[in-house]
């Protein structure tokens, strides 16, 4: 097993520019969850110029709808990132530094990542129990009515990821 780089969230753009596709990283710090329904709301918020429930600048969004038991995440692996492709370029253009999900992205997302010096990090789809173990704290932030699709703030430690698209557009998908 090759070595891991350490990475902390919120992200420093200079640190992100050092990452290359295929690098394995352990992420520490704070990330926010959002999947289909929350993305629709964030996107509409940006379009309408309303205040978002989270500050996007420098942040990472994790595409996940976790399983919770007694208020704690017990399984929290990534969902298919491609479904967020409609919204992701707008989020990157408004300050988002990193998205975390599984599976390849469309060209518009590649372009937005390169344009903004961001990254796309891949978590391993199907490894939900492992990821939950790396979530040290979870707080509901917005849209509680969406259930598992609400926005949560996750404090993570040693969260294992692969750099899937780096800030230059290099990727692990053979494109």
């Amino acid at each position: 097993m090759s070595e891991y780089k350490r990475l902390s969230a919120p992200f420093d753009k200079a640190a992100l520019s050092e990452l290359r596709a295929g690098d394995r990283v352990f992420l520490d710090g704070v990330i926010y969850t959002a999947r289909d329904a929350a993305h629709k709301r964030l996107f509409e918020g940006i379009q309408n110029g309303t205040q978002l429930p989270i500050e996007l600048k420098g942040q990472g969004i994790y595409y996940v709808g976790a399983c919770f038991k007694d208020g704690k995440p017990i399984s929290a692996g990534p969902t298919t990132a491609m479904r967020m492709d409609k919204y992701a370029p707008t989020l990157y253009d408004n300050g988002l530094a990193a998205s975390i999900g599984k599976g390849d992205r469309g060209q518009a997302v590649y372009d937005a990542i390169v344009r903004n010096g961001g990254v796309y990090l891949a978590a391993i789809g199907g490894a939900g129990a492992t990821y939950a173990h790396s979530i040290k704290d979870s707080t509901l932030i917005a849209y509680p009515e969406l259930g598992t699709e609400a926005i949560y703030r996750f404090e993570v430690k040693d969260f294992p990821l692969i750099v899937a698209i780096d800030s230059k557009g290099g990727n692990v998908y053979g494109r």
């Binding site: 097993m1 090759s2 295929g22 394995r24 329904a37 996940v64 709808g65 976790a66 399983c67 919770f68 038991k69 007694d70 017990i74 399984s75 929290a76 692996g77 969902t79 298919t80 491609m82 599984k102 599976g103 390849d104 891949a122 391993i124 789809g125 199907g126 490894a127 939900g128 129990a129 492992t130 939950a132 173990h133 969406l146 259930g147 598992t148 699709e149 294992p160 692969i162 692990v172 998908y173 053979g174």
Partner: protein, 278 residues
């Protein structure tokens, strides 16, 4: 005539949902084999993590994957069975509701128009077949939608023949790419009507991973397609690699003189199935 109580069905189905916390033994075996022979470092990293994850999940009764699916339930109901105290489908839904809520499995089911979540992962999708005898066999498959979203139905013309069938299966896997959490199991249904083809494809996912079809022609086709699919090089998680699919499982049903339906239903790397006979 045998009587089976509504509440017994509820209890058994609630117990079946525990399948969300463990891979089937044949899935684990396929994953380990794929990991041993994988030459791509990133793909091997993914497979090692998935193997470890399955151990952690099973020991601590945690969901293997946070997508604990829509509950797809296959029932073989003996004609000599009488269910007392309520409706069969209600009992199944009550069992799913209890199992998901008690174990913290995700409520992923919502109204397709309003997108309002039912909050208890019901209703299940229930397929009932009437069979001889006085048994009641219930099989539970939590079907994740990263893979379900990659399903495809092709209504070929008969002139397209077996070459057309092969082309469709390969195309469906290629288009799915990294999305369905490969390595996958590819369920294929050939023949019937549109819905019969898709149901046949889904039923193939209940087989032990890699168990060949009893039909020799289909078994040979499974082998050939598996090899072509793995030559695509999509690999675990789409990171490129040697194993894109663990297996191809094909079923067939007679079809109309005008048609050659081909349905492809994909299973992600987390094969979770449980079964009970009352």
């Amino acid at each position: 005539m045998k009587n089976i109580a509504y509440q017994d069905i509820v209890n058994e189905v609630a117990g079946l949902t525990l399948a969300c916390s463990r891979l089937t033994p044949s899935c684990t075996a396929a994953m380990m084999e794929a990991c041993t022979k994988e030459r791509n470092g990133n793909a091997r990293f993914a497979l090692e993590m998935l193997i470890k994850n399955a151990e952690v999940a099973s020991e601590a009764h945690l969901p293997v994957c946070q997508d604990t699916g829509m509950a797809v339930v296959f029932v073989k109901l003996g004609q000599e069975v009488h269910i007392e105290g309520g409706l069969l489908v209600d009992a199944i839904n009550a069992g799913v509701r209890r199992g998901y809520q008690e174990n913290g499995y995700r409520a992923s089911v919502l109204d397709p128009i309003t997108r309002v979540n039912t909050r208890d992962n019901t209703p299940a999708v229930v397929h009932i077949s009437l069979v001889a005898g006085d048994g009641l066999e219930i099989t539970f498959m939590p079907k994740g939608f990263g893979s379900e979203n990659m399903s495809r139905l092709y209504m070929l013309t008969p002139s397209e023949g077996m070459e057309g069938v092969k082309r469709c299966v390969i195309e469906a896997v290629k288009l799915a790419g990294s999305n369905p959490c490969p390595p996958i199991v590819v369920g294929v249904g050939i023949g019937g009507t549109a819905e019969k083809a898709m149901l046949t494809a889904k039923e193939q996912l209940l087989r032990e991973v890699g168990a060949p079809s009893e039909d020799e022609t289909l078994a040979a086709l499974e082998k050939e397609l598996l090899s072509s699919i793995n030559e695509l090089g999509i690999g675990a998680q789409g990171f490129s690699g040697d194993t894109t699919a663990f297996a191809v499982h094909i079923g067939k049903y007679p079809t109309h003189i005008s048609a050659l339906p081909v349905a492809v239903n994909i299973q992600c790397n987390a094969v979770r199935v449980s079964s009970v006979t009352l």
